[in-house]
Symmetry: C5
Subunit: 363 residues, 5 copies
């Protein structure tokens, strides 16, 4: 079997965590991911029913202006490994350091924390990139009164649809406040989980075909990798349902009642995603079961061929052996048709065995 190194998706991360985090005081803002170090860029969109204004700036004072305005602002911080900048920015927005630590901690599991005047959420964007690989991108968002502050790890994201709706005034997004924007971003994240499910489903289908047609050892290995991928995705997706449900029950004035109606829709989707993941888990276990059953079938096939060949020819060879003996007195050897008789017996035996095996259903 060909060697294949399977990289454990949880490994590298823990390693860095163990190294980088232990001994540090809680609340130390530390980026733990492995993306290349870049400067953060900030993309602000300020909009109300009538106008939209977009801006790219790193200047914290300029950014804070948006927060103070009456219109809704979406302040999108792209790149979270410039820890000092993030800490500065956060402090100016009045965010505490534990929150900022979670915002850049790429290992943080999904969470929602409510504070007196803001709501903080950590989620994972999962999407399939152009190379057909599953990307897991850390993101955090803070809902303030008129502003949503977003921290995202990479330039790529799943929010293009939301931006378009803001720019083109499509749907109700322009007429509603920051809480609706918060919902819209969450909705975009969760809608993309469906593409991830589709991706997993496609893998299951491909493996299913391979299991039935050509169950090589590599297929078993791929099934195990699939199981791990499902485990990993579930790890990021599973808590979301509980979090959204808590968001719906919140008494915070930051989330208005009719936005909760939309959140209930998001909750429905989370439930559905969790159920589907559960189904995929059972399917991947069935796949392995099917693989093992097909292996058994192939073994049976092999054994049948051996048994048939051996059972037919070993007795015939024995008969030939008999008349290859060199005894002085072996009358059959001197019969005129002895040789023909032996052939007769052999052919009879052959037919007998063939009929027997056909009856057994082995031929």
């Amino acid at each position: 079997m060909q060697k294949k190194k399977m990289t454990n998706p949880l490994h590298r991360r823990k390693k860095s965590r163990a190294k980088d985090k232990i001994g540090k005081a809680p609340g130390t803002v530390t980026y733990l991911g492995d993306r290349e170090k870049t400067q953060s860029t900030v993309h602000t969109i300020e909009y109300d029913d009538e106008s939209v204004a977009e801006d790219f700036t790193n200047d914290i004072d300029a950014i804070l202006v948006h927060n103070d305005s009456k219109s809704t602002s979406w302040i999108d911080v792209v790149g979270i490994n410039d820890e000092a900048y993030i800490e500065n920015l956060g402090k100016r927005f009045g965010l505490n350091s534990l929150l900022l630590e979670d915002a850049v901690n790429t290992l943080q599991r999904p969470k929602i924390d409510e504070y007196d005047n803001h709501i903080f959420g950590v989620f994972k964007m999962l999407y399939i990139n152009d190379a057909e690989e599953l990307v897991s991108e850390h993101m955090a968002m803070v809902l303030l009164e008129n502003t949503v502050l977003v921290f995202q790890e990479l330039k790529e994201d799943v929010f293009e649809g939301v931006r378009t709706r803001i720019r083109t005034k499509h749907g109700r997004i322009r007429t509603r406040g920051a809480d609706y924007l918060f919902f819209a971003l969450l909705d975009a994240i969760i809608d993309n989980y469906f593409t991830v499910l589709e991706h997993i489903n496609h893998k299951i289908e491909v493996l299913e075909e391979q299991v039935y047609e050509n169950p090589k050892p590599e297929v078993a290995q791929k099934i195990q990798e699939l199981k791990k991928e499902v485990l990993k995705v579930r790890r990021w997706i599973f808590p979301v349902k509980e979090l959204v449900s808590r968001l719906i029950d919140t008494e915070s004035p930051l989330i208005k009642k009719d936005t909760k109606l939309f959140l209930r829709d998001v909750l429905d989707h989370s439930v559905e995603i969790n159920e589907t993941l559960q189904i995929y888990r059972e399917m991947s276990m069935s796949l392995m079961e099917m693989y093992m059953s097909n292996m058994s079938n192939k073994m049976n096939e092999v054994m049948k061929v051996l048994t048939i060949m051996a059972s037919i020819f070993i007795p015939l060879t024995f008969i030939a052996g008999i008349y290859g003996m060199n005894f002085d007195h072996m009358p059959e050897l001197h019969w005129e048709h002895g040789y023909l008789y032996v052939w007769g017996i052999m052919i009879f035996l052959l037919l007998f065995m063939l009929i027997y095996f056909r009856k057994k259903g082995w031929l």
Copy 2:
């Protein structure tokens, strides 16, 4: 093994969802199913204790008249891929766009949402069609004060019995209001789940027989397909129990107290269906286990035949080989009865082996 492409029941759907839904604003009414595009037709039945009137019309104004009347009306919209029409109709009934989105979203899992003046439910009709296939048809219903508004995907449905009872004044349906009609439709849906269970049960029985008699690889494949079908059906049926239970506990004045008594009956059935599905799941897992055990048995059979044949004839062939050697000095070859003696030894060995194998229970 013969190639068989197993179509994953969850695949095509997610694909369309992923494509069609992502980036759209929430509340966009989008049909996601794959049934052919047709115009919606609306079948109205207005009835009270004394009279019944049926009508087929597409005219929204004409339909609204039924809603305003004091008698009970059942407005049945057949065909839900004419999205614009559905949206118009819905808005005239005062339904919000999130609700309408769910009504035509064939991927929506079963749900019940309570609003101030209507109750909205999404369910799946599951039934066996004439071609003995399991059909899953999306449907949604809205309970208004005197009206039940139904959206169904196909002309076929499971409500023929309810229609007959209304027309023939059988049972108490004509004397009771819209909430009883709502219950009667739900009851009809759930009663049909029993035929689906029967269908699954029949498949289990057929597979059981095949596993015991002729455990071919195809049987294992069919068992896995059955397991998937059970997973899929459970997905649609499982949430119903919780939903009905919430309906019973509702404080909405739309559902009267004595209708709740009937709903409790529906709840009992949902519980029973879920339990039966669970039993089927365990049965299908046992089937696979039995299949594997039968495979092992067959392997044992094959190995026994091989072992018996080889163990008997290989030693005999060896003896024949001995006396086929060409040594100058082999006294046995020149004995008068040497050949007979050898036959004697061989027959003795044969009998010895046969007795040994019979003792082992292999013959």
Copy 3:
């Protein structure tokens, strides 16, 4: 392998249900079992501390007299497929049609419903009949103020002990009211579940012995049938615990406080039965595991015999083959003791192999 048709215990029932129930209005009193159609007979026992009177009558008026009396009455309706009679009788006792539907619906799972002036329960009598088969008999009981109304499917039942105690004034039954009778009947039903457990346990023991001694394919089949039987029995028994627990917590004045003390005992038994069933489930899974492990052992046995025979005689045959060659120049053939030397080598090889296999632990 010998063909054996396994009848699925859940099949026939669902079929009739699907046929008989669909489309009917809820509350239609329909017997769904498959016992032969007979007229109902009613056995009444009216008793107080001082006297007992028994009666067999079908006359509803005569029966109602017992209900109005101050003494405790047990009205036992035997045979529930005379639907019209049951409906009449029930209505005279003031029972609603949904209740009556459940009373004769042999597919109804165990339930307890509380009404204002009566408590209704459905249970399954499970017992082993004289032919050593497990019988599942549907029964329903209604606790009224001074009366317990029982509906049972067959003449046979598990209540003989209760009748004897009433007739012989054994225990406290004669001095207590209808709620104690209700408890005593329930207690009798649940006590019989222990005989069913014993029956299952006996089957497990027999199969255990067969698995260890003679693991034929039929044994695997029987284990699977046992698993199904446990599933089926659990289906009827499992809900009882919850029901009794609700009965203890009831606020209905129909059940007096000291009767609840006895019900707590029944609850203890239900808990124990459920736990034992759970243990039997795990045991039957272990049985299958053991069967598979014994199959593997037997396969190993077979393979060892084959390997030993082939490994010993194939090399020896090869040696014999060497000296059966017809080369002109083969010096060994002309040695005086060549033949003896060959035998020496062969015997040495034989001993060597035997020692090797003994070392491996295969002999």
Copy 4:
């Protein structure tokens, strides 16, 4: 395979229960165990801070004196199959017959019932006797105001340490009341569960070694027996946690607040015991898995030997067979070094096969 009858630990009991209990009125005091019938003996210890007095008597009046005294009394009834005596004694202490029924019912699962002026508990003493067997002894205790009344099945028990502490005034037992004694007895029972765990753990270790070294079929059988033993022990131990927890939450004045502090310690132990049992369950399942994997390994070993022997010698035998043919014209036979050449070819083939198998890792 050698026959071994496995006695199902649950069998004999249920049988007697089914026979002995059915039809009897509830509250009938019936001993259901299988220990030899003996007269009960009563051992009383009355103590306070200053003095201890022990007594052996059967006289109920003499026993009752202890109950009325102000000092703490431990009345220990040894032997519970003298049903009439138990019933008399119990009635004099004001205990109801349902309680007494449970006290002698050796099948009763652990329970705690609170009454107005006493608390009743049933537990199982589990301990390893001198013959290294696991003994399960039924016991019941009643906590009265100044007295603990104990019913135990056998003379052997796990309370020797408590007696010593009372006699030697070790620890605080002498200065505290009956509730502390009740706790101390419970504590002694639960401390002994740890020796049972140790016993099971030792069995697991022994089996583990056997599985790795010599996985005979008997080992699989012993693993299954171990699994049953764990199931059985869990059955007796598992409910204890819940019971102790209820005892801590009780509002009964019989248990003082500082005794509850000690009970919390007992609760901790119960939780730990349950967790450990769960771990043992998983370990015994792993053992079976390991056994199966070792069986497969051995099969692989056997097959490799067969394959190597057959693959080497069958082709060589074929070559020898070629030159054993009797064709008139076979030039090789007449070459001067033909015989040597054949040996050369054979040795080359042999080496080739050996190298091939070594490469495969089979040698």
Copy 5:
């Protein structure tokens, strides 16, 4: 297979417990671990915002001075097998003997007990020592008003980072009270669990590679050992989540509101650790599954080689056997090209078999 004694991690402990604990009065302070007996040493650090003072002393009076001071004190007792000293020290701090028993009982599972004026916690420090072994070290801590009293089994611990932060005034630790110190120690313990996870993860990765490349029996054994290690670690880690959660909900004035904010962070970590352990458990089960599937593959490989060799050469040997017979009349023997014809037939058969096996995909 090579013998390997697997030491059961739970064994030795229970044994000592069973021996050492049974019969002793509750509250007896008994060290149950197996570390060498040493005298306890006490390391005190007293600090406030301005100054830090460290001290090593065994003198209880000197230690108590720290407790009475207004600054925050960390009193770290290293070595807990000097039971008398611990008991003395504890009593002077006003701790009851049950608490002290748990503090030195190395078998005590993690717990938190709240008292009126102190909070007591038992945890396990898990860390990887220099020999790359997993060490489990018992520790207990008591939170008093201005003091945290720590009992730890060994000199090594996981608190070096906390000490450094105190000494260097890094982070907020110096400005906050004893509850923050309590949190910081707990945080350090839990942060180290991540290194343990990393250690387990590394083992999984190594085993994964071995399973794919060289699935020897030893690998299965190592997988089982890994499963046990995960079980063991889970046993110590699993309860922590619940304990921290209770600490957050406490109403004790000893823990201030803003420290709870930090505890919530610790809670997040515990949840994450538990989830990861669960994932590792599933991974180790998948590993075993993969091992079994690779064993099957190897068996298939072996069987194929045997089948191919036997199926090709047994028929050819038979043909050679035919023409090795000694019949007087065998015309083929005397044909001029008979020998060549036989070779022709043999080569044809060989090619035929090779093509057949290639078609089957066995070559």
